[in-house]
């Protein structure tokens, strides 16, 4: 017993020494690794790409659609040895699309994905880009008269028709007045075409005379909300049907009708499949929404730019299908969207 005890006591020293050494070594290695990681320049996961594409859209626009387009383009480009940079987003100063295109041209990017519009300045800059050999793809809205290589988006006239078709097929006898909410005066080709398509279809196919009016809400999110608030707060009766042609106005109506307790007074038809929009359809705030596949637009734009870089001939117009989301299919649509998103992440 005594000998055993003494033996144990004798072994205690070396055991403590070994344990302390192990703990000491662990601390040393752990500290060293941590310090080395911190001390090292942050160049981890740096991936180089063969091409540099500029993604340019209106920086004032806060909707989800352009984010989705960018993400679609960015992820697809990464797989195709290209990097898509959201031009101007990292700058402290906010620049117009024209300036951003100028910068992109000066930066000698390999291609430009552009939210088009009909401004002459933009047309001129696209011409500059063309002159410098930089292909330009316009999305959602076209740049009529420009040297853009391709336009990817929905046919505005057809979109108007789609709205009309839905309302005709779901017509109610009490419906008399329709309010079409537009961003600006009908100078914009896209909105003009949508409105024209909508109005013509309603008149031609409904067999009923509707009082169709327009409401200009502006491009800025504050302007939009202000206009919608004014409408909802007015003592006047709301129109029977409200048609929103873009994501911002759809979001504004979805939120403000609830805020001002005017849900159900008008049938609101929106645009796009943002989370707010889908939620509003589920909660019966919106009746339906027309949407397009933004992700697909992004991937398609990369395909076009890659084809241009490869010297292939590209189509000037690539139409994108629309899809109608109603209360009947909103759940399955959400499930499908989530599934697609998880698939993309993988």
């Amino acid at each position: 017993m005594g000998k055993e005890y003494k033996k144990r006591i004798r072994l205690l020293g070396p055991v403590i020494a070994i344990l302390t050494s192990v703990v000491l070594l662990n601390f040393l290695v752990f500290t060293s690794i941590k310090i080395s990681r911190v001390a090292k320049e942050d160049v981890t996961d740096l991936k180089e790409f063969g091409k540099h594409y500029a993604f340019i859209c209106d920086l004032d626009y806060n909707g989800e659609m352009w984010k989705e387009i960018f993400e679609g383009a960015s992820k697809y480009a990464e797989k195709n040895d290209a990097y898509v940079e959201w031009f101007g987003k990292n700058l402290m100063e906010k620049y117009t699309k024209v300036d951003l295109v100028k910068m992109a041209v000066a930066a000698k990017v390999d291609g430009i994905i552009l939210q088009g519009d009909d401004s002459e300045e933009l047309v001129r800059q696209i011409e500059q880009a063309k002159y410098k050999g930089i292909p330009v793809v316009t999305l959602s809205k076209d740049c009529f008269g420009s040297y853009r290589n391709s336009f990817i988006g929905i046919s505005s006239y057809n979109l108007g028709k789609e709205y009309a078709n839905y309302l005709i097929s779901n017509a109610r006898p009490t419906d008399k007045s329709i309010l079409v909410v537009i961003e600006s005066e009908l100078e914009d080709d896209r909105e003009k075409l949508i409105y024209t398509g909508f109005k013509e279809s309603m008149q031609a196919r409904s067999g009923k005379v509707y009082d169709i009016d327009t409401m200009i809400v502006g491009r800025d999110v504050f302007e939009v909300e202000k206009s919608v608030r004014e409408l909802l707060l007015s003592d006047e009766q709301l129109p029977d049907i409200i048609v929103c042609l873009d994501e911002l106005t759809t979001s504004a109506f979805s939120q403000l009708t609830v805020d001002y307790n005017r849900v159900g007074e008008s049938r609101i038809i929106g645009f796009y499949d943002s989370e707010t929009c889908l939620y509003a359809i589920e909660r019966k705030i919106l009746e339906a929404s027309l949407t397009t596949n933004a992700n697909y637009m992004g991937t398609k734009s990369i395909d076009v730019l890659n084809d241009c870089a490869a010297g292939k001939v590209v189509s000037e117009y690539l139409p994108i299908d629309t899809q109608l989301i109603t209360r009947a299919n909103v759940k399955s649509y959400i499930d499908k969207k989530k599934y697609n998103e998880s698939k993309q992440v993988q």
Partner: protein, 505 residues
């Protein structure tokens, strides 16, 4: 021979190192560990400090770039305003500087936001330089329209580059601030870890030193315990096992040999002491034998067998011739000598001794015509105690011969036996000439005197005193007292009722 395992060889080498080498090795090992860990911590801290130093380096670089860009713009405007060759030279010089700095910027397309901004800055700045050159060239060639357009374009590009630089500077400042905070936290973390590391280090050092010192000192401690045991006389102590061929091992071995030597010496000493004791015992025995012999011899001297037989024959003759006084005289003489014959053992009762005095006095009074007056004052209860034979008669004989023999007054001899606690006091007193003090001292010291040789039976005072002391194992047995000249002498015997050896029993 058993083959050693690979790890046993260094262990054995370590064990066999000398003590000072071990201590040196221990010192260098612990110092080495401390030094190594310190260097390690220092290198980590250095890495962090360098990184902290370089954190805002990128901002400094961008500021430099912006200054150079401003200089180009300034020189371009200066030339456009003055059109002087100097300003043109300055413009080209600054443009070249700016161009050189631009070369250092990244030009790769990658997924890093800052590097992509650098790339854009570089490209736009190159375009700016190109347009600025065209502007200067247009001014030189006085192409006003082109100069105006190019100047505006250059200004716009300049604004773009500045905006990009400003944004990148901000972006990098944000990143650098974040990094700085991370580095600061890491430094703080590193400090805490260093404290823990040092605690572990101290613990490890402590354990190493403890183990090593214990290994070195534990044999010494065991040895000191063993030495204590040995000093307490335990030579069977277990010595520590010698595991190393170092100084401690040498000391332990030497101590072991020393114990063996001491044990040998002690055995020798014990043997020698035993022999000496035996010798002393023999010597003592011899002394006893010698004393017995001496006693026997002394007794033999007063053992007149022949005389005794002759006296018996004389007594019978006196009886036959009808001479009763002669018969009594011879009978007393015969009894006197018979006493010697009878008491061969050397031990008699006081009664027998007193009887002997009676015979002796009778003989003397026949001889000296009854001149000696003998008086007895005896307690009969005390006279059966045992005592050596032939003690009282020589004392009485001395009193007669040297005390009362030559005195002119009445010669008296008194014998008194009295009780004194645990001793019986026998006092023989005469009224003779007395004994001087120096003479008494000489007698008491046991030195033979002239009287010893001339005593009637060869037993002098010295013999009596010696035998009494030997018999009773005490010096306090006899006293001689004389008050002075012609004051008589008194000899007192203090006879213990029991002999000393009987008391022991």
């Amino acid at each position: 021979m058993e083959e050693k395992k690979f790890w046993e060889i260094p262990v054995l080498r370590w064990r066999n190192l000398s003590l000072w080498k071990k201590l040196y090795a221990l010192f260098f090992l612990s110092t080495g560990i401390v030094l190594g860990v310190n260097l390690y911590i220092w290198s980590n801290a250095d890495k962090l400090v360098r990184r902290v130093d370089s954190v805002y380096g990128s901002n400094t670089g961008l500021n430099d770039l912006q200054e150079k860009l401003d200089a180009v713009q300034f020189q371009m405007i200066e030339y456009l305003n003055t059109k002087s060759s100097q300003s043109m030279e300055d413009y080209f010089s600054t443009a070249q500087d700016f161009s050189d700095v631009l070369e250092e910027l990244s030009d790769v397309t990658c997924n890093n936001k800052s590097l992509m901004m650098e790339k854009n800055i570089k490209r736009i700045a190159e375009e700016y330089l190109f347009v600025a050159d065209e502007t200067v060239e247009s001014k030189r060639t006085r192409n006003v329209e082109r100069y105006k357009a190019k100047y505006e374009e250059a200004n716009q590009l300049y604004a773009y580059v500045r905006s990009y630089l400003y944004s990148l500077n901000n972006e990098q400042f944000k990143n650098n601030s974040k990094q700085y905070n991370v580095l600061k936290n890491t430094l703080s973390y590193s400090e805490q870890m260093n404290i823990i590391i040092f605690i572990c280090l101290i613990l490890l050092e402590g354990v190493i030193v403890f183990i090593s010192m214990r290994r070195i000192t534990s044999p010494l401690v065991s040895l000191s315990k063993a030495a204590n045991e040995v000093s307490n006389g335990n030579f069977e102590v277990q010595l520590p096992e010698v595991q190393a061929d170092d100084e401690v091992g040498t000391v332990v071995n030497a101590f072991r040999r020393m114990i063996v030597s001491i044990k040998g010496y002690i055995q020798e000493l014990t043997e020698s002491a035993r022999i000496q004791a035996q010798l002393r015992e023999k010597e003592h025995e011899m002394e006893n034998y010698l004393m017995d012999a001496k006693l026997n011899y002394l007794q033999a001297q007063i053992h007149p067998h022949f005389l005794f037989n002759c006296l018996n024959a004389g007594a019978q003759l006196a009886m036959l011739e009808d001479a009763p006084r002669t018969y009594d005289y011879i009978q007393n003489m015969a009894n006197f000598f018979r006493y010697n014959l009878k008491n061969k053992s050397g031990e008699v009762t006081l009664r027998e001794e007193l009887k002997l005095i009676d015979h002796y006095i009778y003989i003397l009074n026949v001889r000296f015509a009854g001149e000696i007056h003998y008086e007895k004052n005896i307690d009969e209860a005390l006279i059966d105690i045992r005592m050596p034979s032939m003690v009282l008669q020589p004392i009485v004989e001395n009193s007669v011969n040297y005390g009362v023999n030559d005195i002119s007054w009445e010669k008296k001899i008194e014998v008194e036996v009295s009780d004194m606690d645990d001793v019986v006091c026998v006092c023989i007193r005469d009224n003779g000439v007395g004994i001087p003090q120096d003479k008494i001292e000489q007698i008491m010291s046991g030195q033979s005197t002239k009287s010893d040789a001339s005593s009637s039976n060869g037993v002098g005072m010295a013999n009596v005193i010696s035998r009494l002391k030997l018999y009773y194992h005490t010096e306090e047995v006899i006293y001689i007292n004389s008050e002075g000249e012609n004051m008589g002498t008194e000899v007192m015997l203090y006879l213990p009722r029991k002999k000393a050896n009987e008391e022991d029993i």
